[in-house]
Symmetry: C2
Subunit: 170 residues, 2 copies
DNA sequence: CTTGGAATGTCAACAAAGCTGACTTAAAGT
DNA sequence: ACTTTAAGTCAGCTTTGTTGACATTCCAAG
């Protein structure tokens, strides 16, 4: 039912024939899937008058507690001024706490408050629910392939951040 | 090397154990991959002082030539005021042509000009190059899985558009 | 110790691209 | 004749990106 590409010798990974049309399908699939991927959290965010930028900040502060602003900037790939606006609002609303660094007082270490953790949970529950459903519908082998292709699609710096996130210190 | 999830009985597709952490990894992979996915065209667009909105318009006009404005609105999921701003500029710059419908003169049918086709090619070449590399690195089975999961991640309306795009008339 | 530069973060102003609402024009449908 | 539909326009707002200017802090060279 899928039949998304053809190999000259099936399984041969270097002799893979990929027509422009097949690649275009992949591009559109990515476009539509990403829309689905963000749809559920977007609905929740709208109720609170937040945007995707706030979601991303909450997500990564949750995953790397006590991270600095500089660090977050590197992960999100935006300017610090842009991030600051989002952060200021989250702090004003009592979702994020900014603590002056002990070792280096220039740094601000970011933490979620109880309310912040609650919203982050709510958002990521919604997103995980869709992810879980997609994974279940697709099956384990498909998931493995999905992850492999996604990783190959990142560029090396992003891949570094992606792995750094999961293992070592932020 | 991947080991992205675990099944209680391997291969069993309804009894799939998915921890929050595993799903979070999927979410982040999607985030970083989408960034990679748009990075190359973004660079080209910047030179021409266009944004992603212009890219999307060019892409879908290319794929569904002679599509109407209404149709494009449905695909892109934005308001006509927003699309119109983008379209007006593309027409003024001579990349897109708007022809009054023959059967229904209220409709405007959109076509790429020679220059429009050229830029669309340039953009999609860049995006396809990354896609092709990711597909090659990952191998055919991974690609099949990738496509399966992406499709499962769309919601039904998007999936309908996605398939409608490829087969029937727009 | 002082001082000058680098690092970190904040504030102000601006641009792109989304949104809503109100309106016009032209063509179709009934 | 009246209503509906397709497209376009104008005005104004929001989110989220940008650059420029600035304050604070740290550190290392003199």
């Amino acid at each position: 039912m899928a039949e998304p590409e053809r190999a000259t010798h099936q399984g041969g990974e270097s002799l893979l024939f990929l027509t422009d049309e097949q690649l275009r399908q992949g591009i559109e699939a990515m476009f539509f899937a990403y829309r689905g991927f963000t749809a559920d959290p977007d609905r929740i965010l709208e109720e609170h008058d937040y945007g995707r930028a706030h979601h991303r900040a909450l997500h990564f502060i949750h995953c790397a507690p006590s991270t600095t602003v500089k660090n977050l900037l590197a992960i999100l790939g935006v300017t610090k001024q842009s991030l600051n606006r989002v952060l200021r609002r989250l702090i004003a609303d009592g979702l994020v706490e900014s603590r002056v660094g002990r070792a280096d007082k220039r740094e601000r270490h970011l933490h979620l408050t109880e309310a912040g953790r609650a919203l982050e949970q709510q958002l990521s529950d919604a997103q995980r629910a869709r992810m879980r459903k997609a994974y279940r519908d697709a099956g384990p082998e498909a998931v493995a392939g999905f992850r492999t292709v996604l990783e190959a699609m990142m560029d090396s710096e992003q891949r570094r951040q992606y792995h750094g996130m999961r293992n070592g210190r932020a």
